[in-house]
Symmetry: C2
Subunit: 332 residues, 2 copies
Amino acid sequence: MSTISDVAKLAKVSVSTVSRVISGKGYVSKETQKKVLQAAQELAYSPNLIARNLQSGKTQTIGFITNSPLGFPNSFLGTFIAIANLHDYYVTLYFTNGDKNKEIDVLNQMKHRQLDGIFVFNRSNEWSVFESYTAYGPIATRYRINSKQIYSSHIDHYPIYLASLNYLYQQGYKKIAHSMGNPENRNTKARIKAINSFYQGNGLLLNVDWLFCETSTENNGNQLAHWFHHATDKPEALACHSDSIAVEFISELQNLGYNVPRDVAVIGFDNSDISRLMHVTTVDYSANLQAENSFVHLYNQLNNTNIPQHHLEYKLIERKTTPKINDYIEQD
Amino acid sequence: MSTISDVAKLAKVSVSTVSRVISGKGYVSKETQKKVLQAAQELAYSPNLIARNLQSGKTQTIGFITNSPLGFPNSFLGTFIAIANLHDYYVTLYFTNGDKNKEIDVLNQMKHRQLDGIFVFNRSNEWSVFESYTAYGPIATRYRINSKQIYSSHIDHYPIYLASLNYLYQQGYKKIAHSMGNPENRNTKARIKAINSFYQGNGLLLNVDWLFCETSTENNGNQLAHWFHHATDKPEALACHSDSIAVEFISELQNLGYNVPRDVAVIGFDNSDISRLMHVTTVDYSANLQAENSFVHLYNQLNNTNIPQHHLEYKLIERKTTPKINDYIEQD
């Protein structure tokens, strides 16, 4: 492959003159410009974009940190990459598998100018660690956090979860089990607050044995199905903080000989493809707009633009897993 | 942020001396080395990795070309990225949406040394276009192609599809519809060959109205469900070339009031998560090993190593959508 030096030699000019022609920066006479471009064409020279990035200090690349290839954030990630590509940005994916050092490696990539910005889908380090890297580039997340340095596009889970529980109540379900995320997360705290409001508001007593917080990200729904199978006092409905837990629960219950919704109603959260395919009632909370907001924030920071953000809204998507209680008709 | 010039100034040495210390290449006296490292530490200087890449000409980044965020190659992509990360390579995703020019853009990224290699999951350009770029870096694909320049990790679909059809036959299904991919693909051609062998071998007549080739990648299963709904002569089974088509078909049939397998049996292909969740009989063809082989090939090419490849095998995964015909018992 020919280099900038080859072009300079053939055009009988200096390397810096070729560089000025290629970058369009600095004065070069028309005649010299023509000589350089002819030489470049003759040698099929293509400018080294790494070198060009070195000048601008930009890579047009955003790092996306997520836990693992399993339970992959499909639609969110897809939207994030699609909008990035539309703005001529690229997305590099990092699977950190909950390893704090791997997260630091990615943050250092931004420090070393191999990434322009970072989106945090999952994280293991404290937020203060991430904050200390915002000196090197913008960081955004989907988590609901209180940070002046890190951007967060989130939606309040309190009214959403309260609406889900009230809906189940209207459908006749009073014995409800709850599958929730990491109790450290503000989203989980908002859900616990919603549970309190719901039980107090309806004069019901909460069965704390039916309150599950996530300890591991994998197969949580599967474990819940086995818990359901062995429980002597079974709930009438399970409310899940993600569709993936809801569908794993339903699928494993089917393996154990149960039927959803006849034996237990299920409501998910995410409105993912899989919830649609398996007819699971869920909540759409504008995850695609959340992904778009996150990228747009990074873009605005990096380009001094002011593209407006979307307002996030939620909507209950009623499907087949939450009929009126005792109304279930065997499907043929 | 401090630059290499700042370090040189503080250490009272030249920029090229700092560069020699940072890169570890070329002679520098112990004393000078110490001065430079002290200055670098004092200024919290971190070497610009873009500049470092410029020296090595490597980005440690592989481009992954796929069609769209919808129907995303989840498990394959996950494995590909996980194995790449393990070898200190990064993966940048490009959604080309079937746009030939976008594919060329990605290929040019490799030409301009922003990517070390490329994996082609979907493509729109002729293979000859891709071949012309192998001068700039290695290219691999999952497609079964005949090319000396492009690597392909594939499995022969002929024996696989013949085994699927023979299995359906043993289960009692003789009226079989076939959902296949792009007729231009060698995989599709192998499947058509398997269909011919199957019908001739069993003295059956092929109903050509039941032979579907993919015209669009989206909602093909959905369309097939509506075709089934309106067909006066309905098949007893549908054999699909992907799990995603199988599950879309099943889900939409359920919306239309049908039951799988009571009304029609279904066999998929991929052994994806969604087929497991929806209990769909399918074929596992070592997609994860295929992803690993593809990365390992690129890695071997880029690093002059010789990590061995896996042999791909297939296995029929029997689940609930293909019981013995007329043996279907209403599940409770």
